[in-house]
Amino acid sequence: MPHPDDQPENTFCGQTRREFFWQTGGAFTSLALAGLLSRDGFLSKQAVAADGVTPFEAAARVGRSHFAPKAKSVIFLFMYGGPSQVDTFDYKPKLYGLDGKTIDIETKGRGGAKNQGRVVGPKWKFKQYGQCGAWVSDLFPHIGSCVDDIAFIKSMYADSPLHGSAMLMMNSGSILSGSPCLGSWVNYGLGSVNENLPGFVVMLDSTGGPISGAKNWSSGYMPATYQGTVIRANGTPILDLDRPEGLSEAAQRRMLDQLGRYNQRHQQPRAQNSELAARIASYELAYRMQRHAPEAVDVASEPAKTQELYGIDESHTEEFGRKCLLARRLVERGVRFVQVYAGGNHNDANWDAHGDLKKNHAYHAARTDKPIAGLLKDLKRRGLLDETLVVWGGEFGRQPTAEYAEGTGRDHNSAGFTMWMAGGGIKGGISVGATDELGNRAVERPFHVKNLHATILQQLGFDCNQLSYFYAGLDRKLVGVEGAEPIPELV
């Protein structure tokens, strides 16, 4: 491609700005149909991807990473609401003895900035697990049995201590809505390997979505092709996947055949128009999705032993277990990014333990502990853990002190919290970074959410400072134009 400087003035890539965007849109028309159309040499006609620089194929084709990828897909277990680090994985022995004492401590949560607070001692005991001897609280005995495959990051920090903006930060790298989510970036970079399933799948809690709903799986300024698709673990998995009640497959096939005949006749004198061809093909893909997607989500076809491993046989773990097992089935079938929400709606329907910490965390940990451990073990025994990156964490953590005069509830804390990763080339049995002795702030090797994002992209084969998307005059990146570095200790 000629250098933009060689072009006449007031043009962009030799086109007007409007033409450029128009044709870019045209190129993306076919992205979901890349496999089909590449046969017709369609892709080779496309010059550049939407960033205006990357050759189109590099962005759309599978396996064109910046370097050899370790992971093929990501399962992000999102603990919505913000689990407390000092009650889960960040062992702070000193905190027990301070229970009930008011101390000088700087915190910032939804209750604003404070300089003093009443310590709430950790409400669970900690034990060491595995070869590595990682400390895990009694909330997670099952996850405890997997610590040799887990890398803990105990010095996470984020920009906002409020749910809405913190969720967007964790999901899209920005506290403001409008940016593409991590799953969008992954699919933008890697493309899909299964055209019968969406590449970015989100599973929500039965109590509802997280705050800001669809903003948390939006493709922002990228085309809608990259937005997350909500899949349900029960009933019809994808919106409008089922034929209307009473319409047989044969009748629908007959309708589609006639639709095809009308469309073919319309296309004949417009044979050069690939958009029309793409739309005709999209109906056949939809028809195939109707047949294949239900199979992908058919958790009941798994052996009883496997279902038990995920806790599907017990009422309190049934919901999250089903979702974790579904996540495994989806990554097996080539879905790039699966996000599973533990908790939804508001207040105690998620990890947001402002009132009764014991009740809240006991409930949410009990629902997720066995399913998560089941997922890790199942992935491992199938040899899938090496190529599947599992991420665990919330949008922030919680304070070591109480929010109110009474009770055990903790306020939000974005100054220090714990997340962990497993599989996908991540070193197991390690821990990086640390909070202060009260677990309040990240003090040793602090890592921002951007470092986490950079690490995830790195495991998928991308340099986060190179993977860019051109929008509104800027080469946008998940980690922002300032850039970020992956966490080196984890690999």
Binding site: G26, F28, G209, K215, M255, L259, N263, H266, S282
Partner: protein
């Protein structure tokens, strides 16, 4: 000047192109044809309502709340009070009057590349995805609209030929060919005889096919 332009052969071209013309003018620099475009999200919905006769052209006033599928409501953090309710007449207002809630958008509109509600959007992307086809084949909305379309045709005509030919005409804004009409009549017949649909229902299925035509959603 406007008259001169609009009466010119170039201005009146449609999107058809033969191989020779395509070779001579591959990217349409010479205006040898019209560059077709897909209807925008709002246009797709409005045109469906216009075609079956339910579009409410009322202007102004507060936003309206067309029915939101339960699955979409479930994505909200407060599913039970996430969305309002409008009468059928109000729900059939132009798409521009649909209440814009940034975290809960109409699935038909988002599927057809509605602009992101957070950002300025100089030009919209036009994507073509199988999920659009699913929405246009299986959603409650499209099936309700197809049934209303069928009722309109059934009320206006007795013979299947007239039903089919008027349906095609309303969707394509041109006289259908006799072949197109014959194929539509055959489809309705087959759906009745081979698939056991009753007449009204078979006509509704035919109307659903009409609303899915490329010629319907592309301006060409």
């Amino acid at each position: 000047m406007h008259k001169l332009i609009m009466l010119s052969a170039s201005y009146q071209m449609d999107s058809r192109v033969d191989d020779a013309v395509y070779e001579a003018d591959p990217i349409n620099d010479l205006f040898s044809r019209f560059d077709p475009r897909r209807l925008t999200a709002e246009e797709v919905r409005d045109t469906i309502l216009m075609t079956n006769g339910t579009l409410n052209p009322e202007m102004g006033g507060p936003g309206v709340y067309p029915k939101m599928p339960e699955e979409v409501l479930a994505t909200s953090s407060r599913p039970e009070d996430a969305w309002g309710e409008s009468s059928p007449d109000q729900a059939a207002r132009r798409s521009i009057y649909i209440h814009a809630k940034r975290s809960l958008l109409n699935p038909l509109l988002t599927s057809f590349d509605l602009a992101d509600t957070d950002l300025t959007c100089p030009v919209r992307f036009i994507t073509t995805q199988p999920t659009q086809a699913l929405t246009m084949l299986n959603s409650d909305f499209i099936n309700e609209q197809a049934a209303i379309f069928a009722q309109r045709l059934l009320a206006e005509h007795d013979s299947l030929e007239s039903i089919v030919s008027h349906g095609l005409e309303l969707t394509l804004l041109r006289q259908p060919t006799s072949e197109e009409t014959a194929e539509g009549v055959r489809l309705i017949g087959d759906l009745q005889q081979l698939d056991g649909r009753d007449r009204d229902d078979a006509v509704a299925c035919f109307c659903l096919v009409l609303l899915n035509l490329n010629e319907f959603v592309y301006l060409d």
